[in-house]
C-alpha cells in the first residue's frame, strides 16, 4: 500500500487532463445533460482529491475514475429532486431511417442505467467482459447479459455494422 497524501493542484490537473473525456462521456450517459454531467465530473475528481489513493498505473487510475464516476452518477440520480426533473428530460422516441450520432446517443441515454457502464467500457474503451466484471464487482455472466440486453434495446437504431459486434 502506497503512501497516501492529499494531491496538489498540479497532480489533479495532470490526472484531469488524462481522463476528463472518459469521465465526461460516461457521466453524460447517465446524467443526460451538460450541467448535471459537469456536476458529476467535478464530484468524481473531487473524490479523487479527497481519496489520496496512490495508483499502480495509469490504467489503474483510469479504472478507479470510471468506477467512481459511475457510482457518483447513480448516487446523484437517486435524489428525489433529480428523479422529478428526469421525468421531463427523458429522450423522446423518434423514427429515423439513418440514425445520426445524436440519435444513437439518445438511444444510449434512454437505456436503463444498469447497462450503461458496461456498455461504455466494452464498446468505447475496449475492455473485455472479464475485466469489466472485475471492475464492477459483478459476475462475468451478468456483464455479458447486460451487454446482450443493451444490444437488443439498441438494435432498432444501430446499423448492420454495429449489429455484428
Amino acid at each position: 500500500m502506497g503512501l497516501s497524501l492529499p494531491r496538489t493542484g498540479m497532480d489533479i490537473e495532470a490526472i484531469y487532463l488524462r481522463h476528463v473525456d472518459t469521465v465526461y462521456r460516461l457521466c453524460f450517459s447517465f446524467m443526460k445533460n451538460q450541467w448535471d454531467t459537469e456536476d458529476a465530473v467535478q464530484t468524481t475528481f473531487l473524490k479523487l482529491m479527497a481519496n489520496g489513493k496512490v495508483f499502480e498505473s495509469a490504467e489503474h487510475e483510469k479504472a478507479w475514475l470510471i468506477v467512481t464516476a459511475s457510482n457518483t452518477c447513480k448516487n446523484l440520480l437517486k435524489s428525489p429532486q433529480r428523479r422529478m426533473a428526469d421525468i421531463d428530460s427523458l429522450p423522446q422516441k423518434t423514427d429515423h431511417a439513418a440514425p445520426s450520432p445524436d440519435h444513437t446517443l439518445q438511444a444510449i441515454l434512454a437505456l436503463p442505467d444498469r447497462y450503461k457502464t458496461a456498455l461504455y467500457l466494452y464498446y468505447y474503451e475496449g475492455y473485455p467482459t472479464k475485466e469489466i466484471a472485475r471492475l464492477l464487482r459483478r459476475p462475468d455472466s451478468t456483464i455479458r447479459n447486460h451487454l446482450r440486453e443493451a444490444r437488443a434495446l439498441l438494435k432498432d437504431l444501430l446499423t448492420e455494422e454495429d449489429h455484428e459486434i
Binding site: 497516501s4 497524501l5 492529499p6 494531491r7 496538489t8 493542484g9 498540479m10 489533479i12 490537473e13 495532470a14 484531469y16 487532463l17 476528463v20 473525456d21 465526461y24 462521456r25 453524460f28 450517459s29 451538460q34 454531467t37 459537469e38 465530473v41 467535478q42 475528481f45 473531487l46 482529491m49 479527497a50 481519496n51 489520496g52 440514425p99 450520432p101 445524436d102 444513437t104 446517443l105 438511444a107 444510449i108 456498455l119 461504455y120 464498446y123 468505447y124 444501430l158 446499423t159 455494422e161 454495429d162 455484428e164 459486434i165
Partner: protein
C-alpha cells in the same frame, strides 16, 4: 473501425475545451491551498472571490520541481501535518460543502464558514465588472494598473476585484447578520459591509477567451516583498528569468502539464506600505479578526493555454 456508430455517439457528447477549462477551474478551487502555484503565507481571493484559509491545518504541497523568482531550486519546507486520512477527507468534504454554500454570498457580504479547528472558508467581499474598461477605470481609481494592450481575437469573459478589510470598514462598516446553521455541522457567520469597500482592492482578475476557447487569465494581488514564493515546474517544461520595466522580478514558466501552459509571473516591490486587515485569521474563534498586515508589493500572474511568452510579455509591458 468497429462499433463506430456507438463511438461516434459518445464522441458527440465530448466536452468542449471551454467546458473542460471551466470544470477544471471549479475543481482546483476546491483544492485546500492557494490555486496558484505561489505558496504565499496567506490565501488568495480568487476568481469567485472565494478564499480557502488554512491555519495550522495545512495541506500537502507539491513534492518537487520548485523554483524561486530567480529560477533557483528550492525545497518545500511546508509541513504536512495531516496524516489522518479520515480527518483530511472530512475537511475536504466540508470545504466542498462550505464552498457551495458561500458561493451564494452577495458581493457586499462577508461569510465565514468555520469548517474545522483553525480552518475557515471565507467569501471575501467582491465586485464584478461587465467590461474590461469598467474594471480598468475602477483599478485606476485605486492607482492600480491594467494592460492597455490585449491580444486580438480575445473577448472579455469576466473580471472583478475582491476587497481587503480596511480600518474604516473594520471599525464602522460591518453589520453582523444572523449566523446560518448548516446541515453539515458547521455554522456560517455573516456580515454585511456598509462602507464603500470596493475601493479597498486586495486582488483583481480578468479572464478573456477567444473563439476557439483559448483562455487568457490575468490576476494581480497585494503582498509583501518578504513572502517566500516558489513555483512548480515540470521536467519537460522550461523557465526563464526575465526583465520587465518597473518590476523587481519576472519569471516565465512553460509547463505542458498545467492547465495553462504559459505563465508569466512578475512582481513590483517597494510600493508605499499599506496596512490592512485580514478577513480571516487562523484562530480558534470564528470571528472577524483584525490582524494588521503590511503590503508593499503587487504580484501579477498572466497565464494562457495558447499565448506564449512574447504575447504575455507584450501584455505585461502595456500595464498602465
Amino acid at each position: 473501425m468497429k462499433y463506430k456508430q456507438l463511438m461516434a455517439a459518445w464522441d458527440s457528447a465530448n466536452p468542449s475545451q471551454a467546458d473542460k477549462d471551466r470544470m477544471l477551474n471549479t475543481i482546483t478551487q476546491h483544492i485546500a491551498q492557494p490555486k496558484l502555484r505561489f505558496q504565499p503565507r496567506r490565501a488568495l481571493a480568487l476568481a469567485l472571490a472565494l478564499v480557502l484559509v488554512l491555519g495550522a491545518t495545512a495541506f500537502a504541497l507539491s513534492e518537487g520541481g520548485l523554483i524561486n523568482w530567480f529560477g533557483k531550486k528550492v525545497t518545500d519546507n511546508m509541513p504536512i501535518p495531516i496524516d489522518d486520512e479520515e480527518v483530511l477527507a472530512t475537511i475536504q468534504a466540508r470545504a466542498q460543502q462550505a464552498k457551495a454554500l458561500i458561493e451564494q454570498a452577495p458581493e457586499d457580504e462577508l461569510w465565514i464558514a468555520e469548517i474545522w479547528e483553525k480552518t475557515q472558508i471565507v467569501s471575501a467581499p467582491s465586485r464584478s465588472f461587465a467590461t474590461p474598461e469598467a474594471l480598468a477605470a475602477h483599478l485606476a481609481s485605486a492607482d492600480l494598473a491594467f494592460p492597455a494592450h490585449l491580444p486580438p481575437g480575445y473577448s472579455y469573459d469576466s473580471g472583478g476585484i475582491s476587497a481587503y478589510l480596511s480600518k474604516n470598514t473594520a471599525e464602522t462598516g460591518l453589520l453582523p447578520l444572523p449566523d446560518q446553521q448548516t446541515e453539515y455541522g458547521f455554522p456560517i457567520k455573516k456580515y454585511r459591509l456598509t462602507t464603500d469597500y470596493a475601493a479597498d482592492i486586495d486582488h483583481w482578475y480578468a479572464k478573456f477567451i477567444d473563439d476557439k476557447g483559448n483562455v487568457l487569465s490575468l490576476t494581480c494581488f497585494r503582498d509583501s516583498h518578504s513572502t517566500q514564493f516558489s513555483f512548480n515546474t515540470s521536467a519537460s517544461g522550461e523557465h526563464e528569468v526575465l526583465t520587465i520595466p518597473a518590476m523587481s522580478e519576472a519569471l516565465y514558466i512553460r509547463n505542458e502539464d498545467s492547465r495553462f501552459e504559459h505563465s508569466l509571473n512578475f512582481r513590483q516591490t517597494g510600493l508605499p506600505r499599506l496596512f490592512i486587515y485580514q478577513w480571516y485569521s487562523p484562530r480558534e474563534t470564528p470571528d472577524v479578526h483584525f490582524d494588521p498586515n503590511s503590503y508593499d508589493s503587487l504580484v501579477y500572474q498572466f497565464e494562457s493555454n495558447a499565448l506564449g511568452k512574447d504575447s504575455l510579455l507584450e501584455i505585461a509591458n502595456s500595464l498602465q
